[in-house]
Symmetry: C2
Subunit: 466 residues, 2 copies
C-alpha cells in the first residue's frame, strides 16, 4: 500500500468490509461453535481447537502464525511484517465463560444465531459472541480487508490470543517473559471493552483489578440430622451466612479491615468529566430490572463501578440443594468470592486481609480452607500519547460522534503484564452494556461487528500516517 496516500486504499478497504459481511459472520460463527470454556477441564480439547482455528485464520491472511503450548491452554502468536511504521501487538482471548444456567438460554449457546430486533438492530447470539470472540474477530477481519485490497497491512502487526483470560491467565506472565523479544511492540491493542453508548465509541483508560478466592468452611466431621443435633451442632451454612453478611456494611462499604487503604478519591476534574458524560443512571439499572444502586451511599454509579472497589459473592453451595427437603445440618459450606480493585490496592494485601477477616469470624470447631483463583491490580492508562490521539480521531471519524475516554469496572489483568514489558495498552472495544457477557443469551450487535471492523481499518490507517 501507499502510506503517503492512504485515502484510496482506505476507502477500498472499508468498501470491502461492507461487501464481505456474510462471509465474515460465517467465520465468526465457526469460532463461536467451538465451546472453548477455559474454566471447565472437560473443555480443554475445545480450547486447543479454538487456538488451532485462529492460527489457521492468521496463516490464511499471510501471518507467520502458530499455536504455542503452555501448561494450560495454548497461545496463538502471529506476525505480519508487510507494513512499516509503528509496531502494534493486538491481544484477544478465545476462551469463554461457562454457560450455566443453561435453562435460561433461548438458543444453544454454541450454535450462534442472528436475531433481528424490533429496533432494527440484529443480535449475534451465543457464548463468546461479544466476550471476546466477536470483539477479537473485528481486528482479524480488518486485517483481512486490508490484505484483500492492498496485499499488506498499513503498519507492522503482531497478534497474541490466549485461552485463559476467563480463568486467571495463569500461563500468560511466564509466556510473556519467555517471549518478550518476540512480542515487544510500540503499543498493545486490546478489544475487550464497551462502547460508551450505541452511538459513542470509547477508549478505556481505567480498569479495576480483581482478587478471586474460594473458601470452604468445615464444622462437624459429617452431615448431621437436625432432629438429633439441631441447636447443639454448629451449622456450616449458618457460619457462611454470618461471614458473607460481615463483608458489607449497611451503607454499601466493604467491611474487610484495611480494604480502602491506598484508595484515592477521584480527582474533581475526572468526576466532572464523568458527570458530563451522557449516562442515565436509572436506565443503567432498569435495563437489568433494578432501580437503586447497591454500592456506597452518596457515590454515583459510574464512581461505584469504575472508581470504587467492590466485594461480590459469586457462588455459594452447601447442604441439600435438590428437590424436596432434607433436614440436614451441613458439615461443609463453600463460596466463591471476588473483589474488584482500584488504583492503590495491592491484590496480595487484599487477599491477606480477606482471609484474616474470615478467620477472625470463624467460630470454635470450624475450619476454613482458602483457594487462590488469581488476581491482578487495577490499571490506569496514560491519557496522552500520539497513538491514543490518532485512535480517538479514527473512531470519531467512523462513528460521527466524538469518542469518549472512559473507565471500566472490569479487569483485564494482562494489562499489568504488558506494562511490565514496557508497553501501554489501548483498549478499544465495540461491546455494549446490555451484551449479557458471562450471562445467558450473550449477544453482540451486528453493527458492533460491522463498524468494529471498519474502526480497526481506520485505526490501522491512522497509525500509519507519517
Amino acid at each position: 500500500m501507499t502510506i503517503s496516500d492512504p485515502v484510496g486504499p482506505l476507502d477500498r478497504a472499508l468498501a470491502h468490509a461492507d461487501s464481505d459481511t456474510d462471509a465474515a459472520l460465517a467465520r465468526l460463527f465457526e469460532l463461536i461453535r467451538i465451546p472453548s470454556v477455559s474454566t471447565v477441564p472437560a473443555h480443554a480439547a475445545d480450547c486447543a481447537r479454538a487456538a488451532e482455528w485462529l492460527a489457521a485464520a492468521l496463516v490464511e491472511l499471510g501471518f507467520e502464525a502458530s499455536v504455542r503450548p503452555t501448561r494450560g491452554h495454548p497461545m496463538v502468536v502471529g506476525h505480519d511484517r508487510t507494513g512499516g511504521g509503528p509496531h502494534v501487538l493486538f491481544y484477544g482471548h478465545y476462551d469463554v465463560q461457562p454457560v450455566d444456567p443453561l435453562a435460561l438460554w433461548n438458543t444453544d449457546p454454541f450454535e450462534p444465531v442472528l436475531a433481528p430486533q424490533a429496533d432494527g438492530e440484529t443480535h449475534i447470539v451465543g457464548r463468546g459472541a461479544s466476550d471476546d470472540k466477536g470483539q477479537l474477530m473485528t481486528f482479524v477481519e480488518a486485517c483481512r480487508c486490508w490484505k484483500a485490497v492492498t496485499g499488506s497491512l498499513p503498519v507492522r502487526v503482531s497478534v497474541l490470543f490466549e485461552g485463559e483470560e476467563e480463568s486467571g491467565s495463569q500461563s500468560l506472565p511466564g509466556f510473556l517473559d519467555r517471549s518478550s523479544d518476540e512480542l515487544s511492540a510500540d503499543v498493545v491493542l486490546v478489544c475487550d471493552t464497551d462502547m460508551w453508548d450505541r452511538e459513542t465509541p470509547a477508549i478505556t483508560t481505567m480498569l479495576r483489578g480483581v482478587v478471586k478466592e474460594e473458601i470452604e468452611i468445615s464444622c462437624a466431621d459429617r452431615d448431621l440430622h437436625s432432629g438429633i443435633y439441631g441447636n447443639a451442632a454448629r451449622n456450616a451454612l449458618q457460619v457462611m451466612g454470618d461471614i458473607v453478611a460481615s463483608l458489607r456494611l449497611p451503607d454499601g462499604r466493604v467491611a474487610v479491615g484495611g480494604f480502602y487503604d491506598g484508595v484515592s478519591e477521584l480527582p474533581d476534574a475526572v468526576k466532572a468529566q464523568w458527570q458530563r458524560l451522557p449516562f442515565d443512571e436509572a436506565q443503567f439499572l432498569s435495563d437489568v430490572g433494578l432501580s437503586v444502586p447497591a454500592g456506597e451511599a452518596g457515590r454515583s454509579i459510574l464512581e461505584q463501578v469504575w472508581a470504587r472497589p467492590s466485594c461480590e459473592i459469586n457462588g455459594i453451595w452447601g447442604g441439600y440443594m435438590d428437590e424436596g427437603f432434607k433436614t440436614v445440618i451441613p458439615a461443609k459450606a463453600n463460596a466463591k468470592i471476588s473483589f474488584r480493585l482500584v488504583a492503590g490496592q495491592d491484590p496480595d494485601a487484599v487477599r491477606v486481609a480477606f482471609r484474616a477477616h474470615v478467620v477472625a469470624r470463624l467460630p470454635v470447631d470450624c475450619d476454613v480452607t482458602f483457594r487462590d483463583h488469581g488476581g491482578s491490580p487495577a490499571t490506569v492508562m496514560p491519557m496522552d500519547g500520539l497513538l491514543l490521539q490518532r485512535a480517538l480521531g479514527a473512531l470519531t471519524e467512523e462513528w460521527g460522534t466524538e469518542a469518549a475516554i472512559a473507565g471500566t469496572g472490569g479487569s483485564i489483568p494482562i494489562l499489568d503484564q504488558f506494562k511490565r514489558l514496557g508497553m501501554d495498552s489501548l483498549l478499544v472495544g465495540f461491546a455494549r452494556f446490555d451484551n449479557r457477557i458471562h450471562s445467558p443469551n450473550e449477544k453482540y450487535d451486528l453493527s458492533s461487528f460491522q463498524k468494529g471492523i471498519r474502526s480497526w481499518i481506520r485505526i490501522l490507517a491512522a497509525f500509519a500516517t507519517k
Copy 2:
C-alpha cells in the same frame, strides 16, 4: 398361644429369633436394596416397590394386608386378628432420605453390607439401615417369631407403613381421616427413635415439631458481570447471607420475632431427671468432631436438642458453583431452612413469623418466593398409663438395664395425626446416636436389630398379660 401362661411360648419365640438372624438379615437387605427415596420424584416407582414388598411380607405372616394408593407414595395396611387383648397399631415408614453426597459413602448406599467393628459390634450399613427400614423390620420379625412358634400373635395387631415420612407425610392426614374406623387401636407403636445409650433402652415421650421452608431471592432480571455492575447491582447471594445471618443471635437464640412465644421453661423435675441421665456432653459432640454446643448459651445440650426450638440452614445454592471461577453477580439465591419446634409453638405462626422476618429484611429491588415443605407441632406423651409401664418393664427385662424415659429433638409429625384420632403413641426405638441417619454411611447395629426383635417379642407378650 396360651395367654395365661406366656412363659413357655415367649422363651420359644425368643429362641426362634436367635436362630433366625441370617434369614431376618437377608429379608432386611432385600428391603434396603429398594432405593425408596421419597423426596426425589424419579424414585416414585421404587417407593411403590418397597410398599409392595412390605405388603407381601405381611401377607406371608398371615396378615390381611394390602397396598393403598394415595396421591403421593402408597400406604401399606395390614391386620392380624389372631390375638386378643389390647389392639396395637404399629407405624413405620419405608421411605428413606436422599444419599447425597454420594462420594462420602464408603459403600453403595443401596447395597447393604455387614461391617464388623473393632469393638466387637457389627454394623448393617446402607441408606435406611436404621431410619426406618431396620427399625420397622424389628417389629415385623418379632411378629414372624410369634407366628413361627404359636401360629398367632399375643395381641391384636394392625400395621401402617407410609412412604412419605421423609417428605412431609402429605398424604397421611387425609388417609387417617378416611380410615379412622379401620385403624383405630388402643395405642400406636412407633419404632423410629434412639436407645438412650448402647446398654439402655428408652421410650421417648417428648418430640420436637418442625417447620420446613424453601426460599428464593431474586434481584436483577439476569446474572450480571461483576466487572460491569460490581457495587451498583444488588447481589442475591449477599442478600441471602444477610438474611441467614439475621436468623441467629450471637448467643445462639433464634432471632425471628415472637419465635419463643408460648415456649415454657422445662419443669425443674424434668431438668433434674435429665441431669441424672448418663449423658456425656463432651462425648456427644466429639463423636462428630465438635467440642462446644452452638445453641443458646447457658443451656445443657439435652435441653438444646430436646426442649428448645432451633433454626437450621439445610441448604443454600446460587451463582457459580462449578470448577474454576466466574465473576458473576447472581440474580437468584435459594435456601432450604427449617425450624424444630417445642410444645407451645404453632407451626403456622412460626412460618408466618419467618416469612415476615425475611420480607422485612429484603432490600429494595429484591423479591422473595416461599415454598411450604410441611410442618407439624411438637408432641408430648402422657407419662403414665398401663401399656407404657408394661413396655418399660419388657425393655428392662430384655436389656438388663432400667429403661429410660427420654425426649428427642427429632420430629415424627404423624404423632399429631394419631392424637387427633384419639390414640397416644409409644415410641420404642433401637437406633443409636451415631447411626448417621440422613448422612453418608448410615448404619444400624446388628445388636440393635437382634435385641430390637427380642424386645418387641417381649413387649407384645407383656401387653397380653391379664
